[in-house]
């Protein structure tokens, strides 16, 4: 079987300006939403108390809210988690949470309120996170993405050239920002596993970009004919089958995880699914387009030769 019998001949760079414009708009919307709406941060970031409880039969959420309100927890957020029988309860951080025993006691108290109404309640998970930990994680997450980008920039600069390095970092940042933007726009809970997913997608997107760059470098070196636009187009077309197959197959696994992996991996697989889609698109368009706009030329990629002395005397 072979889906791509012939090497396609799309004129990618011809549309680069238009599509880059779209990318810029998409990034701007994401940044806007992140700035205005922010993210639906999970307990890892906000601190507070989280209880996952299982019921014998489908739980009545409004009755639960009522019970918790009567029990002295009017701020509790109650939602289904995966199935109708599993319920997630979140309490915002309270004053004095840094107190050594607050979290454990609070969890037991909330559970007691629930058990008073239905003794069959099973506690599946309790998490208590103090506000201090939340702050640390946020700074840590941002720091690690930045550190990764800087190191990658340096690596690609050494292996390729600064125009490519900028393209790679821009496309990677684009993917991370747009994926985070989607979490912001659709208000999907953003927890530690999503951070892991975004960092993983930084790796994946880069992987994709480097494969395309690799071919551009190859073609620049091996052929003398053709404008940079033609060489870039040819390189993308030649790697297109690989790019699409790899993304398709990886998406296959991620979608399996999304559907069957359970609620705890939901955020992770959602982020990866979007991330891989954007990563594929951005390695074709954002990374190469930026290098193209920066006027990458065969001379940039030639192995360094000693400058020949030109005798321009008559």
């Amino acid at each position: 079987m072979e889906l791509f019998k012939k090497v396609s001949r799309f004129r990618f760079m011809h549309y680069a300006r238009f599509i880059s414009g779209l990318s810029i708009v998409l990034t701007a919307i994401s940044i806007g939403s992140l700035a205005v709406r922010g993210l639906n941060f999970g307990i890892d970031f906000t601190g507070g108390l989280l209880l996952e409880v299982g019921f014998e039969r489908p739980a009545d959420l409004s009755a639960l809210r009522q019970q918790l309100g009567d029990g002295g927890y009017p701020d509790a957020q109650v939602q289904n988690f995966g199935t109708a029988k599993d319920v997630l309860i979140r309490l915002p951080p309270q004053e004095g949470d840094a107190d050594p025993s607050a979290g454990g006691k609070l969890g037991q108290q909330v559970l007691a309120v629930l058990q008073a109404a239905d003794p069959q309640v099973v506690l599946r998970r309790v998490e208590f996170v103090g506000p201090q930990v939340g702050e640390d994680l946020t700074t840590q997450g941002i720091l690690s993405v930045l550190a990764a980008l800087v190191l990658i920039l340096i690596y690609v600069m050494f292996r390729f050239q600064w125009k490519f390095a900028l393209g790679a970092v821009a496309s990677t940042a684009h993917d991370a920002i747009v994926t985070a933007g989607i979490f912001s726009i659709f208000w999907i809970p953003f927890d530690l596993t999503v951070v892991a997913a975004i960092l993983a997608l930084v790796g994946y997107s880069l992987n994709d970009t480097v494969v395309v760059f690799d071919r551009i470098r190859d073609n620049f070196r091996s052929t003398r004919r053709g404008t940079p636009e033609e060489v870039i187009d040819r390189s993308i077309n030649e790697t297109l089958s690989r790019t699409l197959i790899t993304s398709g197959v990886t998406l296959l696994v991620v979608v399996a995880l999304l559907i069957f992996g359970g609620e705890t991996l939901h955020g992770f697989s959602t982020a990866l699914a979007f991330g891989i889609t954007f990563g594929t698109y951005s390695s074709i368009y954002v990374a190469t387009a930026l290098a193209y706009f920066l006027k990458v030329s065969p001379a940039d990629l030639m192995p360094v030769k000693k400058q020949e002395q030109v005798d321009d005397l008559p």
Binding site: G103, V126, Q140, V249, L257, F260
Partner: protein, 614 residues
């Protein structure tokens, strides 16, 4: 063309075989088990294990296979009923000096265990348990030290008859010397008592003010000490819980992670972790006969009956010389070549000790370990918590000389000295700790996570294998072998390193599969391209691999950088993900490049081919 020397193929085969063997323990799952360890948190040696086993056999307790798990005796059972029944009997027959815990043990066959092979260790999110993150109050740790400096300096100057006014002002000890003539002498005394301390001198209204503050290095040392000490203390307390594979680790500058797999009641765990232990130094009632007293059940006037660690009776005077809160530090040491424990007391404790040792030369003195536990008891139909004190004489030694705040306890062997120093230090926390994070994962959720994660993983793998086989035909099958070899290698590495596999770790495996597929796709697409360009099959294989390898190396190395950064900055689940990702990149590079090439060479190498099944 495309032929490997035989040894190269043999080497690849050997690596794969080895990996298969190391990964093998993971297929057997877990069996209900009972874990037995000594109460004090010590390890059981070979002799101790045999003894416990013998005593169980004589008591008629039937157990399945038994083996040593890091100084603990593990007994495996076929069913939960058997496990519970046996645990009750074991508790009965072994008594108070052992911790008997219910746990799960890998069902690994004996010959694999004998080879030192173990399955991957699973993170809390996969098997259930409690996770605590404690924050050490460093400010309090420093304040304690500064306060102690103030008391020491005040005493020093008083002993040297220098008029002074010593106050603590935040992190600074402010010493006012009203008479400037004393200033030089005071400064020298303080400097001599602690040459490292930062000392600043000021004149104010005719008086001299000395400002003593800890140097950066002293602060760092003090903080290091506080966190190390707290880690030791918490670890000792965790051992009391009898949890198998507990984790007590320092994290960062001022935090301690405690993970208790299998524990479901965080309240109980917290009770034990928050227990208090202390020490008392007392004189022995040397004139009375302890065995006699025990038999009568009555101690002479002024004396109290206690037990030592072996259960022998000891008579101690009621009066306590020094209590544990006066103890500053204890360390294992050597005194004239003999093992010893060197102990430091604060100034008040030192004075008491001086007084007592002066009067009681050559008489025995004992160290009594007092621990307060909170216990749940049923009283009048209600469950309440009551404190219960446990006392034990841990050491009796003869007073050989007069000493005050610095002395040594001798007459111990090396292990005893180490244990005693540990116990002395482990008694109390060096600085208060606050719980900043607590996570409890129920066992049903843990099992759920494993099942779903594995299901998704297997399904994803099957889909990938099907696609590759259909799309790349025989070369797809080679890629599939490489893909499966990759998963086996990854599992083998994770089992070998005993890095915990967490939920994000499973996600890391998924991503690794993606990377491995990518490498194989790159190779096969390249081979197809070479064929399209009109190259011969053998040349196409050769060129396809060569060109793809450069690309694979570049793309994987960039991902590896991202993985390493994750590992360096991340904590907990992110770190788990990063480990799997980094290892996965390495194994997928190896399998895609080396394993699949070896296979391709073995099948098609050195033959005359007209077309390739790709």
């Amino acid at each position: 063309m495309n032929q490997n020397p035989w040894w190269k193929s043999a080497l690849v085969a050997a690596v794969l075989l080895g990996a298969f063997l190391v990964a093998l323990p993971n297929v057997f799952g877990e069996a209900p088990a009972v874990q037995i360890s000594p109460q004090s948190g010590a390890r059981l040696d070979q002799g101790g294990m045999e003894e416990v086993k013998r005593s169980l056999e004589t008591a008629g307790v039937a157990f399945g296979s038994a083996y040593d798990d890091n100084g603990r005796l593990m007994l495996r059972f076929d069913s939960v009923e058997e496990q519970l029944r046996a645990a009750d009997r074991i508790r009965e027959s072994l008594g108070q000096s052992y911790v008997v815990a219910l746990t799960l043990a890998p069902r690994t066959p004996g010959w694999l265990t004998a080879l030192g092979l173990r399955p991957m260790s699973l993170g809390l999110d996969l098997r259930g348990g409690v996770h605590f993150l404690f924050q050490v109050d460093m400010q309090a740790a420093l304040q304690q030290r500064v306060d102690r400096y103030a008391t020491d300096f005040a005493k020093l100057l008083r002993d040297n008859r220098i008029r002074r006014d010593v106050r603590v002002d935040g992190n600074v000890v402010r010493i006012e010397i009203p008479d400037p003539k004393d200033a030089d002498r005071a400064e020298k005394l303080i400097r001599d008592s602690d040459p490292q301390i930062g000392l600043e001198r000021r004149n104010e209204d005719g008086a001299v003010i000395l400002l003593a503050r800890m140097t950066e290095q002293q602060i760092r040392e003090r903080q290091d000490f506080a966190i190390e000490q707290n880690t030791v203390t918490l670890r000792n307390r965790v051992n009391e819980l009898g949890v198998s594979e507990p984790v007590v680790q320092r994290q960062g500058l001022d935090r301690i992670v405690v993970q208790l797999p299998g524990v479901q009641d965080p309240a109980q765990a917290e009770r034990v972790l928050g227990a208090t232990a202390t020490l008392e130094f007392r004189l022995v009632c040397a004139d009375a006969n302890p065995v006699e007293a025990k038999r009568k059940g009555r101690a002479p006037i002024g004396c109290e009956l206690h037990q030592d660690r072996q259960g022998n009776p000891v008579l101690l005077q009621r009066r306590t010389i020094v209590t544990g809160d006066q103890l500053i530090d204890a360390a294992q040491a050597f005194d004239q070549g003999m093992p010893a424990v060197s102990v430091r007391l604060d100034s008040q404790g030192g004075r008491e000790m001086l007084d007592v040792t002066k009067k009681n030369l050559n008489k025995p003195m004992a160290v009594l370990f007092v621990e307060t536990k909170r216990e749940r008891v049923e009283r009048d139909g209600q469950v309440i918590e009551v404190p219960r004190e446990e006392r034990e004489v841990i050491n009796v030694a003869t007073i050989r000389g007069i000493f005050s705040n610095n002395f040594q306890i001798t007459g111990l062997d090396v292990t005893e000295a180490r244990d005693l120093a540990l116990l002395l230090r482990a008694g109390a926390l060096a600085a208060p700790v606050y719980k900043v994070e607590e996570r409890t994962i129920g066992p049903s959720l843990g099992q759920d996570n494993i099942d779903k994660g594995m299901q998704a993983l297997v399904l994803g793998l099957v889909l990938v294998v099907l696609f590759m086989g259909v799309y790349y035909k025989a070369f797809g099958l080679v890629a599939n072998v490489a893909l499966i070899a990759n998963v086996v290698l990854l599992v083998a590495l994770l089992s070998m390193l005993q890095a915990s596999l967490t939920l994000p770790g499973i996600a890391g495996v998924v991503l690794t599969v993606g990377m491995a597929v990518d490498a194989n796709v790159l190779i096969n697409e390249r081979i197809r391209e070479e064929l399209r360009n009109g190259n011969s099959p053998q040349a196409s294989i050769h060129a396809g691999y060569d060109k793809a390898i450069a690309t694979i190396a570049d793309s994987n190395l960039t991902t590896l950088i991202a993985g390493i950064v994750l590992f360096a900055f991340g904590t907990g689940p992110i770190k788990g993900f990063a480990i799997v990702l980094c290892l996965g990149i390495l194994t997928s590079m190896f399998t895609a490049v080396v394993v699949s090439r070896t296979l391709v060479n073995a099948i098609w190498g050195g033959r005359r081919l007209t077309r390739l099944p790709v």
